[in-house]
């Protein structure tokens, strides 16, 4: 305890000249107009948004305001971090669903944006009063401290109610600071005030820090969701890597051995044929040869279901091969400038494989198109066909399983398939799992 006392005193004595105090003051001053403008902007936008809510304009206005709350929150966090070292983490980024209505819904339900608005509403009055009070306190204490100087320079006189003249600039009731001892006393009061003035500033900055962490930082559930997303992405990538390793091992080991086996059996068969052998041995070798070839073909199909090796060449090469294998003619357009993560590529590949199989099996289509493009970090796969339509999620077409698989990476699958066709299935995936 004994050695903390001098430190506490030192902190107290150095507070008026410490950079921290002045940065804090600057921060409060910068924040004040921002909070003022933000406070009124939020009020006005929400009011008009609510007024026009029955028309088409109201909800978008509110949505824009909510997103504005996000932006101002971001600005506020940046200011807080850079000027007063506020420790506040970024909330999760805005996730918009595709389409205008998706955007509108996402924005209106954006908790981070609303919390940003709440911050502005709470912060507004606090910041304005706080900055004004803290600034005034500083100016006053400095004026008092320097009272003897300007009292002696500007020889001011004023009269009291009895008409008596006093050489004083400051008075408390009928007490005039008109002599040197009294002026020095006032200066001493100013000196104490100078040492006290930093603390309201610090208090306000600390209060703002609490507000920021509460309303501008991630909530506990945000942090939990972030953690879950991270571990899930890890699991998804891990399993993609594991499948790829299995495929590699099968390719280098089992498949090579089977082919060598089939080759040897082929040679044996031809040798027996050349010798004119028609015994049971020739028959057995022939059977084994056929079985080995079947096993190779089956293993190839199996491996293709685990991890198609052509995916290593990129989605466009893999999808071109898929389309070429389809019995219904498929026009393919793939525009993906940046390669998605391997796990996403794998999911995209199997989605297209399943959808094209559906087209061939169920739709009765004569033509199909496959369109794959990447926009705003979203990979969109679209398979259209001119078949009979009537495809539903949950109608036993494998679409349900596909939708489940897509959901594991926060993707979406939607089906537009009126009876009589045409059918469009759209899958949206984030480019990184």
């Amino acid at each position: 305890m004994t050695d903390t006392t001098p430190t506490a005193w030192r902190v107290f004595l150095r507070a008026p000249v410490s950079g921290w105090t002045w940065r804090g003051l600057a921060y409060l001053i910068v924040c004040a107009p921002l909070a003022f403008a933000g406070f009124w902007a939020v009020g006005i936008c929400l009011m008009f948004g609510a007024l026009f809510a029955i028309t088409f304009l109201g909800l978008p206005l509110i949505a824009v305001t909510v997103l504005g709350g996000r932006r101002l929150g971001q600005l506020q966090r940046t200011l807080g971090r850079s000027m007063v070292g506020a420790r506040v983490d970024d909330p999760p980024p805005f996730r918009r669903r595709p389409g205008l209505f998706g955007w509108l819904g996402s924005a209106l339900k954006d908790a981070t944006g609303w919390r940003g608005l709440a911050y502005l509403v709470v912060k507004g009055p606090v910041a304005m009063v706080g900055a004004f009070g803290a600034g005034l306190l500083w100016i006053e204490s400095i004026l008092l401290l320097t009272y003897p100087v300007w009292w002696s320079i500007f020889d001011v006189t004023n009269k009291d109610s009895h008409g008596v003249k006093h050489h004083s600039e400051v008075q408390f009731g009928n007490f005039y600071f008109d002599t040197w001892p009294k002026a020095v006393l006032l200066s001493a009061v100013g000196l104490v005030a100078v040492f006290l003035a930093p603390w309201p500033i610090r208090g306000l900055v600390a209060l703002d820090g609490v507000l920021m962490r509460w309303l501008l930082g991630p909530t506990q559930s945000d942090q939990r969701v972030h953690e879950l997303e991270r571990t899930r992405a890890h699991a998804v990538d891990d399993s993609a890597a594991a499948l790829r390793r299995i495929e590699r091992d099968l390719h280098d080991g089992t498949q090579a051995r089977l082919i060598a086996l089939a080759m040897n059996l082929g040679q044996a068969k031809e040798t027996l044929d050349a010798a004119g052998d028609s015994s049971r041995v020739r028959e057995l070798v022939g059977g084994a040869h056929e079985s080995a070839k079947d096993a190779i073909a089956e293993l190839r199909d199996l491996v293709r279901g685990i991890h198609p090796p052509v995916l290593d060449q990129g989605l466009d090469a893999a999808l071109a091969t898929l389309a070429a294998r389809s019995t219904v003619p498929v026009d393919v357009q793939v525009r993906v400038p940046v390669r998605p993560s391997p796990a996403i590529e794998t999911i995209a590949y199997f989605c297209v494989a399943e959808l094209l199989t559906n087209v061939a099996r169920h739709s009765g289509a004569t033509r199909a198109t496959l369109d794959v493009r990447e926009r705003h970090d979203t990979l969109r796969l679209q398979v259209r066909d001119d078949g009979g339509g009537g495809a539903r999620i949950g109608a036993g077409t494998g679409l349900t399983g596909l939708a489940e698989r897509v959901r594991t990476v926060d993707g979406r699958l939607s089906v537009d398939s009126p009876d009589g066709g045409p059918t469009t299935v759209t899958v949206e995936l984030p480019v990184a799992s």
């Binding site: 082919i259 080759m263 059996l265 070839k293 290593d312 090469a317 070429a324 003619p329």
Partner: protein, 213 residues
């Protein structure tokens, strides 16, 4: 026939060497990656190279890259690419430019030893050998399916065999019909698809492939 083999699985590489040596061919080098393949081809100037697509170090398509480079640098060397997989992209890259002295087969085909050696010989002699699976995919990926749909089933069969690189005689044997019948089918195909008639086998394949692309 002087052969260079590039295959990274030792068991298959040794098997191929054995198989070709047994049939009186001269395997001048057996290597396990693309760089060694190009070095071996430069050193031995073989009639034909058998190339696995997927080899070290990246295990993606280094064999194909090496094969394309060899076709470019030494057009006289036949290149037979073989792979566990058939991908249209690979086929298109390999066949870009010319279809003479080139082959693309599934590895399974070595199980039918005689057919495999026959295909290899064809490629060494400047012919073409495409896996039926490759042809099926090229037909599937072709932008001219409407025209192909006008062919009769038998004509489509003949078109497929033509694209694989077979001669009229080989097609006739395979389908168990007369040479005359095959010639008639071929003439019909060329008329229906509006292809320029061509006598030489490999130019005929080239025409078909161009068409399918």
């Amino acid at each position: 026939m002087r052969v260079v083999i590039a295959e990274d699985a030792a068991i298959l590489r040794d098997g191929l060497v054995q198989l070709l040596t047994d049939r009186g061919h001269d395997v001048v080098a057996a290597v396990s990656d693309g760089d060694a393949l190009r070095a071996a081809v430069a050193e031995h100037d073989p009639d034909v190279a058998v190339v696995d697509i997927r080899m070290p170090p990246s295990f993606t398509d280094e064999g194909l890259r090496a094969a394309i480079a060899i076709r470019h640098e030494r057009p006289a060397v036949g290149v037979l690419v073989f792979s566990q997989w058939v991908e249209t992209r690979y086929a298109a890259e390999l066949l870009a430019g010319s279809s003479s002295g080139v082959g693309y087969l599934l590895k399974d085909r070595v199980a039918d030893v005689s057919e495999f050696v026959e295909a290899l010989t064809r490629v060494a002699a400047g012919g073409t050998a495409l896996d039926p699976e490759v042809v099926r995919q090229l037909l599937g990926a072709s932008r001219r399916r409407d025209a192909i749909a006008t062919l009769t089933p038998r004509e489509r069969e003949v078109l497929g065999l033509m694209a694989e690189g077979r001669t009229n005689g080989a097609i006739a044997r395979q389908l168990v019909v007369s040479d005359r019948a095959v010639e008639k089918h071929v003439a019909n195909i060329f008329t229906k698809l509006d292809l320029p008639p061509s006598g030489e086998d490999h130019r005929r394949v080239l025409a078909v492939l161009r068409y399918l692309d």
